[in-house]
Symmetry: C2
Subunit: 197 residues, 2 copies
Amino acid sequence: MNYPESFEELIECFKMLPGIGNKGAERLVYHVLEMDNQSVERFSRALINFKKKIHYCKTCGHICEGEQCDICKDPTRDRSAICVVESPRDVFAMEKLKEYHGLYHVLGGTVSIMDGKTMEDLNIQSLFDRLTDEVKEVIIATNPTREGETTALLLAKLLSKKDVTVTRIANGLPVGSSLDYADELTLLRSFEGRQKL
Amino acid sequence: MNYPESFEELIECFKMLPGIGNKGAERLVYHVLEMDNQSVERFSRALINFKKKIHYCKTCGHICEGEQCDICKDPTRDRSAICVVESPRDVFAMEKLKEYHGLYHVLGGTVSIMDGKTMEDLNIQSLFDRLTDEVKEVIIATNPTREGETTALLLAKLLSKKDVTVTRIANGLPVGSSLDYADELTLLRSFEGRQKL
């Protein structure tokens, strides 16, 4: 016996989400069955609204509801530094620190041989357009993965022609971890990056 | 820095689903961000359609898209047996067996002291309305949990006044399990329910 058509369709939709398989989707649909009409309508509306309202900031590529994101619009931010990250998630992660007060630039991914993504596919031209005399430092904060490191190196090479200091966030042991459990590369980078106390 | 409003709202909506917390919801919203417009619209529509089209069968309480479910409508089903289950999920589980060809009756839950649910809150009156001379057996297939067992006992008592055979699905060891790991009650029930080979 098959599920009714609209039931199957909702299962298929939930399965589009990451980490949700057949069984998980079924479970969610049974839950929706017991939700009241208002909540389901709210959910349906939230999906459409989200897609309609969220845009990418025309300056930095971060997500926002208007033309420009709150960070680019904020007159109190330090305009001499631009932190380059892979995705909007990374901006939110950095912002949680409340330590960095400069601007951001979101690449929208990394170079990747697997996905056939090159530097041309990334949001790089607009970064160069932003490099006015005001900008003193570009901090490359792509992830310390193979793809992130490659992107960082390629980007640093491109930026070397410009009159701007290029820095890279540090590798090392995570706070609270132990040397014993660290992989060799992390330990090596941590050793190389040692600083005077 | 907070997420944009429509982003937050979609996070809240995903959090209404079971097993999805703050981090999980964030992850799903980031995924929706990368989905194309058509898929998101399809998802939104599926939610509304599901809620609009899925009804409970007026005869047995199972879910369906019309007034009556496919099983109640099917003229080839054996109308002498009614299998009583807790929820529509159980109907689908039974139907996967392809072994039972009778009808169903969905109670819509169990009695529960915790939730203050009594026999009056269950879909029981409509079961009694269905007990014509045609019906020879009522198979009580509520879950073998405390609530399910209580419901089964109370229902059996109510049905004892009627001219119908009342049976209960068997307890015992799951196939492929071992005696060693079974809990005492399961083993006891399995022993008591032994059958001639």
